[in-house]
């Protein structure tokens, strides 16, 4: 609690205590009035002061003003009716103040919670000076400086590792708890926590341009893009308060006048004025106005903690209505790197064939050679390889351990007079012949990410109507991947511009309420990302283009995060609607009950403060997204 809140707390406790004490002291008449008035002023003087200033500035529908009228009115009524029951006026003021205190406490608390979740801002950078480490403000570190990051410290600025290997904890950025290994030459992004070794890093960016700063900026600005629900609420608040106030005025004047003039009954001014004052107590739109942005803020905060950056409340709203998800294939559903997907028709062990192929290709810089080396997995001893001959467009022949090996495509096999067996699967096929005899072929393909299939199934489970895959790849490959993953529709052999056209076609087909999301890796698909209702970029760690172009940024490249993002959005929107219906519902019910005289001021103050407390507590639930 801050100073202001503590002071308020003390005032509330004093007022409550005095109220209880006074309840047991049997005083009447003027002394009683003075005692209660003193408590009233103790708890409500600031409201009265603000109300007075509000009138001076022409703010008639200021909530302080309304609260002041309601309580002064209730006080006046007690005097007018000589009931001596001043409790109500004081209680309304007391509860109002409790409500305000709670609101400011809860909002402050969630503000802190969320900033703790996003606690990736480094406080300092270590610079080596005369053999000693010196802590400086990361803002002051220039590009190309050498910084030192010790175990347990955050990497403050993006850069390249010059010296030292370590494991990095990226969970604050990606929500992924699996540590990553880093070695000299690797690029390193700010915000990771260095876990084991001392690192020397040459910075490649300024602090302001580093990943950490960009992410923080994005999250901080996110709630500035307001959602439809938020706009609805602020509009609603603008009309609600005046409407209720005029209602109160009508309630105070009309029934007594009708009673007097037409029904020739007693006017019952006291009763109707009391009911009108009850109206004023409910007139504050605070519960609504606070809980909706708070829900979005907490939702965005929770999401960023899970490695999903949402650039605005409006995108959270759109994401919750997503019915179509369009994927880019390469790099999104598949790994985007070529890997050995299988060894077929082999006459010897798979490992043996891979070893021969990797060794024979070891002098080549072709991507295929890299894939073979990765699949082989062991250190390559190039001394074992002799007589290497690279036949451009065909492959390689060489002697490995003195055994002649030919590695290449069907043309090469034909050239050396070996009959190759065609592969029934799609991808790049590498035939291997050993000692002039066919030994089998190795299939190299862009393999789907391990979680892609599950992610697509989960999307279906969570209300996505159709999944579509777009790719520039040949149809045969596209169909196979789509079939394997369970994607509903595939469009293949598309140029980048065709992808925009396809997305536009899909956009035209659906209804306005159903939203279309496009998921890409942020490379080459910026136009599509911005054309879709909502653009999701994945694997954005370190990719500026993706962060720029997309509406939602997934910090790592796990397709399951798309499901998570949609679920977070849905939970957030559910809570937003709960709060809207609940708060408006209770207020309307209380207004009706107040008008017919069933609800008194005690009920009214519950409608105001109680609803706000519940709505705020409900809004904070959006923060908890870990289990989604």
């Amino acid at each position: 609690m801050n100073k202001k809140q503590k002071k308020m707390m003390t005032r509330i406790i004093i007022a409550a205590a005095l109220l209880i004490v006074l309840h047991f002291i049997p005083i009447t008449g003027i002394p009683r009035f003075i005692c209660y008035l003193a408590i009233y002023l103790e708890i409500g003087y600031d409201i009265l002061k603000k109300a007075f200033k509000g009138i001076k500035n022409g703010q008639v529908f200021d909530e302080n003003f309304l609260m002041a009228i309601a309580t002064v009115g209730a006080f006046g009524l007690a005097v007018y009716e000589k009931s001596g029951d001043y409790n109500e006026a004081i209680a309304v003021m007391l509860f109002y103040q409790i409500g305000e205190l709670f609101q400011s406490y809860a909002v402050g608390k969630s503000r802190r919670n969320i900033s703790e979740l996003m606690d990736i801002r480094p406080d300092y950078a270590n610079i080596e000076k005369d053999g000693k480490l010196e802590q400086v403000d990361p803002d002051e570190v220039e590009i190309g400086s050498m910084i030192v990051v010790q175990p347990g410290e955050k990497v403050p600025i993006d850069g390249v590792i010059i010296e030292g290997s370590t494991t990095l904890n990226t969970s604050a950025l990606t929500g992924e708890s699996l540590p990553r290994n880093a070695k000299p030459g690797d690029e390193i992004i700010s915000g990771c926590i260095n876990m084991t070794g001392v690192l020397r890093i040459r910075t490649t960016k300024e602090f302001g341009e580093s990943t950490v700063s960009r992410i923080l900026e994005l999250v901080e600005n996110s709630s500035s893009r307001k959602s439809r629900s938020e706009n609805f609420i602020s509009k609603f608040a603008r009309y609600y308060t005046p409407a209720v106030c005029y209602g109160a005025l009508a309630l105070a004047l009309l029934p007594p006048i009708v009673n007097l003039l037409f029904l020739h009954n007693p006017a019952q001014w006291g009763q109707w004025v009391y009911r009108a004052l009850t109206f004023l107590v409910i007139s504050c739109p605070c519960a609504l106005v606070i809980s909706i942005p708070l829900s979005f803020f907490a939702g965005i905060g929770g999401a960023s903690n899970a490695g999903v950056l949402v650039k605005g409340s409006n995108y959270l709203e759109t994401l919750a209505q997503t019915k179509y998800v369009v994927f880019d294939k390469t790099g999104t559903l598949t790994k985007g790197v070529f890997e050995v997907a299988g060894v077929h028709h082999n006459t010897m062990e798979e490992a043996k064939i891979l070893e021969y192929a990797a060794l024979a290709e070891s002098f080549s810089t072709h991507p295929i050679s890299r894939s073979l080396k990765t699949a082989y997995g062991k250190e390559i001893d190039q001394n074992r390889v002799t007589d290497v001959e690279e036949i451009s467009g065909n492959g390689v022949t060489a002697k490995v351990d003195g055994v002649s090996v030919a590695v290449g495509n069907a043309k090469l096999m034909k050239r050396i007079g070996v009959e190759a067996v065609e592969c029934h699967q799609v991808g790049t096929v590498i035939h291997v012949a050993i000692n002039g005899a066919y030994a089998g072929h190795i299939l190299i393909a862009d393999v789907p990410k391990p979680t892609s299939k599950e992610a697509i199934a989960n999307l279906k489970k969570h209300g996505i109507k159709e999944t579509v895959m777009l790719t520039g790849d040949i149809d045969k490959v596209a169909q196979q991947v789509a079939g394997e993953l369970g994607v509903d529709r595939v469009y293949s052999e598309l140029l980048p511009a065709d992808k925009v056209t396809k997305v536009e076609e899909l956009l035209a087909k659906k209804t306005a309420k159903e939203k279309l999301a496009f998921v890409g890796d942020g490379i080459n698909d910026a136009p599509v990302l911005s054309r879709a209702d909502i653009g999701i970029a994945m694997g954005a760690l370190g990719s500026d283009a993706a962060i720029e172009a997309a509406d939602v940024v997934l910090m790592d490249d796990d397709p399951q995060k798309i499901v998570k993002a949609i679920r977070i959005a849905k939970k957030c929107m559910r809570i937003v609607y709960e709060n809207i219906y609940f708060a408006i519902g209770i207020k309307v019910i209380c207004l009706i009950l107040g008008a017919v005289g069933i609800a008194n001021m005690w009920v009214a103050i519950f409608a105001d403060v109680g609803v706000m407390v519940i709505a705020v507590l409900n809004a904070i639930r959006t923060l908890f997204v870990k289990k989604l």
């Binding site: 603000k50 503000r111 901080e220 709630s223 803020f297």
Partner: protein, 72 residues
């Protein structure tokens, strides 16, 4: 030109009122108040001096909500 200012305000509705007041100030093209971050983003019209405009914005905000502050 766009600028961001730190603000201090207690209730969400007051923040909305500040936003309205800022929007209606001469020289301000658009304004957004972010109650959760306690920030006010102001977009100024061409050729306006942010300093003098912000003084007016603060004055107008004080009118609608006495208990507010903009850190200029």
């Amino acid at each position: 030109m766009k600028k961001s200012y730190k603000i201090e305000v207690d209730c969400a509705n007051c923040a909305n009122k500040m936003e309205e007041a800022a929007k209606n100030t001469a020289g301000v093209k658009d304004a957004a108040v972010n109650f959760m971050m306690l920030k006010m983003n102001v977009e100024f019209e061409e050729g306006q001096d942010p300093k003098s405009v912000m003084k007016e914005v603060l004055k107008n905000c004080k009118k609608v909500e006495d208990d507010c502050e903009i850190y200029l």
